[in-house]
Subunit: 355 residues, 2 copies
Amino acid sequence: MAGGKGERFWPRSRRSLPKQFLRVTSETKTMIGETLERTLLAADPANVFISLREDLLPAARQCLPDFPLDQYIVEPVGRDTAAAMGLASVVVERRRPGTVLAILPSDHLVAPAAVFAEDLKSACRVAQEYDCLVTFGVRPERPETGFGYIELGEVIHTRDRANAYEVRRFTEKPDRATAEKYLKTGNFCWNSGMFVWKPSVFLGELEKFLPDHYHGLREIQEWADDPGFCEKARPVFERLEKISVDFGVMEKARNILCLRANFGWDDVGHWTALERVYPKAADGGTVKGPVVLSDVKNSMVLNFDDASVVAVMGLKDVVVVKTADAVLVCDRRSDEEMKKLLRLISDRDDLKKFL
Amino acid sequence: MAGGKGERFWPRSRRSLPKQFLRVTSETKTMIGETLERTLLAADPANVFISLREDLLPAARQCLPDFPLDQYIVEPVGRDTAAAMGLASVVVERRRPGTVLAILPSDHLVAPAAVFAEDLKSACRVAQEYDCLVTFGVRPERPETGFGYIELGEVIHTRDRANAYEVRRFTEKPDRATAEKYLKTGNFCWNSGMFVWKPSVFLGELEKFLPDHYHGLREIQEWADDPGFCEKARPVFERLEKISVDFGVMEKARNILCLRANFGWDDVGHWTALERVYPKAADGGTVKGPVVLSDVKNSMVLNFDDASVVAVMGLKDVVVVKTADAVLVCDRRSDEEMKKLLRLISDRDDLKKFL
């Protein structure tokens, strides 16, 4: 899944080059490059597909020049994750009949890669055995309020002896007190946003909970191998409601099975999430690139433009990010609230080009 | 006087191009250009000299290509204002015998220019009539803690009927309570840092209060017209103590006379001083250039790089300044404390070039 906007990583992430195509958690590899690399530890290269919006194809092609063009699943327009996962399901059902589909975000931090690959293979066997939506739950390390949670039910003894559980419910991002309660009870996991299923199983759930999606996707399924797919499918796709797979399906479906992940995971969804990735400077701040701090506390100052300097003085709890043509300065508590700022930029004809 | 470092205007002001050579208070004119322009309303072009350190000569020549090279008074090294004004005095005494010397900072905001020119002519007549150090006092508009003050004594009825006063004392930058008291009493003025005197009068005071300065300057006076002046004077100049004219002379001298200025004045000594110059944005912030603010209060965001955008979100009381190759982010209360930051930059071999 490489159709995300990565808006909360502005100004590094841009409309035409969102977070998954950037080097964020590695100095040398893009996030999608890392995702592809660890996926190939478990999957045949011919069976890996990249799903994205049509307008992101140039960025993806530049980022992964060797990836086969016919293994892209291209959405004519973005219609959120329920539609994207539905499209992937109808395409894979048609092009690789009888296989299990694993859906993996391309902009998350997952490590170690080998542990992930084993877990993924396990999950595929479980999805093959059970006609279920299989998901990965990550054991929470802190009372995180930025992730969704999965409440686990009874253990399921699968043939594979995977660490599998029934799912009681998917829950929204909790407040702090709720997150602390979740952490204590021990039967809540972070929702990793990774899913494994037989396409037919997911499409069955879509038929129940999002029938318009289901019928639209069945309508365009027959064009899946057509070079003009995108143009043909556009009118159908444009009619689909924008709704996430969590809201639209996972919170309603009953046949979900959760595997406790053995790998480490972080969605690195906003700037301060990188404090968990980057080394801390001596004074407790997190810095990158040519940066000078004077009397600064609990802040993150990232300068991605080596031809420049960023100097911060007499402040605490701030995030400063500089790229070649843009600077973001915000309170660390506001770094998740980027949408409003980007709308303000989008409203300014002189500044749109910086989106 | 164009030898200032303008450090508190970093990152716009740089070692090789300090504030006086920048367009700060005008979109089209440099501060020294504006200073020269208003001075020429009162003075013959042949009688205007620019005093600066040798290393600033290239910047000045570029900024004022038509200004005659032989009207620069060049200090071999910077030794603060007592030495700079002493050097100007010995040079002018030798090259324009019998004239009065007006010493004018080149990086202050002074307006209207015509009013200034009249005041300056008045001051020159007073300095001609009285063997005094004549200074301009500016009627305070607010309890400013960033300026020095002059306490006025008795009115002096000069032949010129200038608004002249005896000076009780020069005072340091006051704290807030003291500044409020000064404002109430009505007989305190801001010290504008402009002085008018016969060179011989100032040199007489130097002889009393800074005899090493006096003797050193007398020693180099004879080379004033020598093209090799700078090299010859260097060893003498290097031995002079770094001391300001306020500390070294004005706070001790008795024969000072203060004219109340009719012109408006501001030393625009640091970034937030520009809030008094720039128009306020609708939300109460002061912005310049391509800038976006979201939920920002009482802040100043100046982007001097039109090819970029600066976005600030969820903060109050901050100053953000961007140039082509540097960004400053600081608390508005710390924008006067630039020295420590610049020392940190100076200590970093990779960052020195940004000074």
